[in-house]
């Protein structure tokens, strides 16, 4: 069985990352945006793993663990913030949460 070439993984990673960006920029619901961020993070994870495998080095794998841990922490905090935001504003539409400006 031949090994899947690294470029396949990278293309998949790029597509996932691109989808994440598109969702991040165009979606209005904060939860969806949040999911888009997660998508991008995992796209990057995929690229890391692919490179680690191709180069036979552990560094990339170690990084993936870090990213997963940080993403878990981030989603915990982020969801908490979103809940508080919803309690205060009764909305999840990001265009209506625009108080932080000059």
């Amino acid at each position: 069985m031949s090994i899947v070439p690294i470029s396949y993984y990278l293309v998949l990673s790029a597509i996932l990352f691109g989808l994440g960006i598109v969702a991040f920029v165009f979606k209005r619901n904060i939860i969806t945006i949040f999911m888009a961020i997660e998508l991008m993070l995992n796209a990057v994870n995929l690229a890391f793993v692919a490179f680690a495998r191709a180069h036979n080095q552990l560094d990339g794998l170690v990084f993936v663990f870090f990213v997963i841990v940080v993403a878990a922490a981030e989603s915990a905090v982020g969801l908490a913030i979103i809940i508080t935001l919803y309690q205060n504003r009764q909305t999840l539409n990001i265009e209506r949460i625009n108080l932080l400006k000059f």
Binding site: V25, L100, K101
Partner: protein, 656 residues
């Protein structure tokens, strides 16, 4: 040899006094301020006395005695030491400065007793003495310049002592700025001096002059330029034509200040400087003639203004300008010793005149106008007699100090090595005017009927701390000239003998410092007593007596018949107005319309405001980016990330 080795003590004492009174004096009681102020000067005077004793034992080849304490400035070839020197000229000046300032300090305890800022006054006076002593003791031109500027500063501070009075502030500024014009010349002179001689030390410069005697290493034109530039400084400081205008205005200051700074010491700094630089001036005949010419013109010119002034201090101020002119005349005709001699006697009698005038003003309760006085002779007898003696001294009545010194100057102008009959004539007529205005002052003030309201003004003699200095100065005004007495019987007077080394050591070859008197003793005496100066002084006295005692209506009639000239002189030849129109107003116009409205408002403010406006406008444009919309932020992040990626790929591509 204690003081000779520690010359710095003499100048450090007044500085210490100034520091103590100036920094801590606010909380001192008057006796403490007095004892610090007078004590420091008295100690300086005692140090001077000790210095004289040690100096007398110094072998002649060790004079001038130079003591270097530390190097002040070094920059390439330029090297200035903090070094002090003592020679005969320094001794004379030190004596005058320490003694007169001691008396003025004592006098001030009475005169300034009821003034605000008593400690401030004494602090300034001490500071002045410090700078004046630095000027006199300095062994190089730069250190001398430090003292020179320092006394100018103290003059400014003391003229404007009553700083709530607008006229006093203006007078202080006028004194400072006018002398600054002269100092500009002086500074360039110092630079040229260094450029020519590669040194600023008096001794080094003079030695080079002697060794470069015959060859053309140092051209006469350079020397003349240096001397003229230095003399510009002297003109400013010693209030000669055309920079004399500040001195009469400086009378806004307290009277002891006028006596010390604007009569006895600071204004004579120019005379001292020219005398100190005599080896230079002796080799620059044109410069020397300019000195004599300016001196004679000033002596005459200021005397004419003095004729019609009514303010008692203004008369004395113009008289000071005039007498300084005589000193320069003496220096200019090559009689350096006579010029310095007149400096000394003038310090005594003019200091006395000012202090007496202060006593009169004190008695009149602040009024300085002579037409408001009259008949004060019996009310304030001590002041009267002291002022009377001083008047005799300044007019040159035989036997009093001014007789010897002024006669010597006029004699040198008539028959000395650089004699000029026109300068002599100017000086002589000036002497007649001097006599007239001085006796006019005496007659208007002390004789005739009282013209003040006796119910309002309570005329009283001044306290002892004011009259004792007067009496001491009166004694010196009488006997101070007797050092020159052998001159009358055909000898060389002691004063000239004493100063002879200073003026002959570096003198150009073929010029003897002191011309020995040649006339037979008896004829000399007769000649001096019946000479023109004495006759014209007596004439001035008689005319003043006729005008102000015998027939008091004559001056008024004369003034009416000579309305034009009278108004001209009364308004001081409109020189202040002329300077105002020619110099002050154009300067003001340029400052306002060019420097203020164009350069300051346009260029400087424009630049600053322009920078501010650009950043503000940029900011308000960039502000739009921060919309509060998280999605737009996200877009920016994406754009940035893409930008960074492209950049990195591009760079990577380039590196490869």
């Amino acid at each position: 040899m204690f003081i000779l080795d520690h010359l710095w003590i003499i100048i450090a004492l007044p500085l210490l006094g100034a520091a103590i009174n100036g920094l801590l004096g606010k909380n001192f009681s008057k006796p403490i301020v007095n004892s610090v102020g007078i004590g420091s000067i008295a100690l300086a005077f005692l140090s001077f006395a000790e210095l004289v004793r040690e100096f007398a034992q110094l072998p002649a080849e060790q004079i001038p005695w130079v003591k270097t304490y530390f190097t002040w400035i070094t920059a390439g070839q330029f090297r200035v030491d903090f070094s002090l020197q003592v020679d005969q000229l320094t001794i004379i000046m030190l004596g005058v400065v320490t003694f007169v300032s001691l008396l003025v300090h004592i006098y001030s305890t009475g005169y300034m007793a009821h003034e605000e800022g008593y400690y401030r006054f004494f602090s300034y006076l001490n500071l002045f003495v410090f700078f004046m002593l630095t000027l006199v003791l300095a062994a190089n031109v730069v250190l001398m310049f430090v003292g020179w500027e320092g006394v100018g500063l103290c003059s400014y501070l003391l003229v404007g002592f009553w700083f709530l009075k607008q006229s006093a502030i203006s007078a202080g500024k006028k004194a400072f700025i006018t002398t600054r014009i002269g100092d500009f010349g002086f500074t360039i002179g110092i630079l040229l001096l260094f450029w020519t001689f590669k040194s600023v030390d008096f001794g080094a410069i003079f030695k080079q002059l002697v060794s470069a005697q015959s060859d053309a290493a140092i051209s006469t034109s350079v020397l003349t330029t240096i001397c003229l530039l230095l003399f510009v400084g002297a003109v400013g400081k010693s209030a000669q034509l055309p920079l004399y205008v500040w001195l009469p205005d400086a009378m806004e200051g307290p009277t002891p200040v006028s006596a010390l700074i604007h009569a006895a010491t600071m204004v004579t700094a120019g005379v001292y400087m020219v005398a100190r630089m005599n080896p230079l001036f002796s080799r620059a005949p044109i410069a020397l003639f300019v000195v004599a010419l300016i001196g004679a013109l000033t002596a005459f010119y200021a005397a004419t203004i003095g004729l019609v002034q009514t303010d008692i201090k203004k008369v004395l101020a113009y008289s000071t300008v005039s007498q300084l002119g005589y000193m320069f005349l003496g220096l200019g005709v090559g009689a350096y010793a006579s010029g310095v001699f007149h400096l000394m006697t003038h310090a005594f009698f003019k200091g006395l005149l000012f202090l007496s005038a202060g006593s009169v003003i004190h008695a009149m309760g602040g009024d300085q106008e002579m037409p408001h006085m009259g008949g004060l002779r019996s009310k304030i007898p001590i002041t009267f007699w002291c002022m009377f003696i001083a008047t005799f001294a300044i007019t040159g009545i035989p036997g009093f100090a001014g007789f010897f010194s002024k006669d010597e100057i006029l004699e040198a102008a008539r028959s000395g090595p650089n004699a000029n009959v026109w300068l002599w004539l100017l000086g002589l007529i000036g002497a007649g005017f001097t006599s007239f205005y001085m006796f006019r002052l005496i007659f208007l003030t002390f004789f005739g009927e009282p013209r003040y309201d006796e119910h309002k003004v309570h005329v009283h003699e001044s306290p002892y701390n004011m009259t004792v200095p007067l009496i001491l100065l009166a004694i010196l005004s009488t006997v101070g000239g007797w050092a020159a007495a052998p001159h009358l019987v055909g000898g060389t007077d002691y004063f000239e003998k004493f100063l002879h080394p200073v003026f002959s050591m570096y003198a150009p070859a073929g010029v003897e410092g002191t011309p020995e008197a040649v006339e037979a003793p008896g004829i000399m005496l007769l000649h001096a007593l019946t000479g023109w100066p004495v006759l014209i002084a007596l004439a001035g006295l008689l005319i003043a007596w006729w005008f102000y005692i015998k027939s008091p209506q004559t001056p008024k009639k004369l003034a009416e018949s000579l309305r034009g000239p009278y108004t001209l002189v009364l308004h001081k030849y409109y020189v202040d107005e002329l300077y105002n129109a020619v110099i002050v107003q154009p300067l003001l116009w340029i400052s306002t319309n060019v420097l203020w409205h164009v350069v300051d408002e346009g260029v400087i403010d424009g630049t600053v405001n322009g920078v501010a406006r650009v950043s503000r406008d940029t900011g308000s444009e960039l502000r739009e980016i921060q919309s509060g919309n998280a999605r737009s932020y996200a877009t920016w992040v994406v754009i940035g990330a893409v930008g960074v990626t492209v950049l990195m790929l591009g760079l990577w591509g380039m590196v490869r």
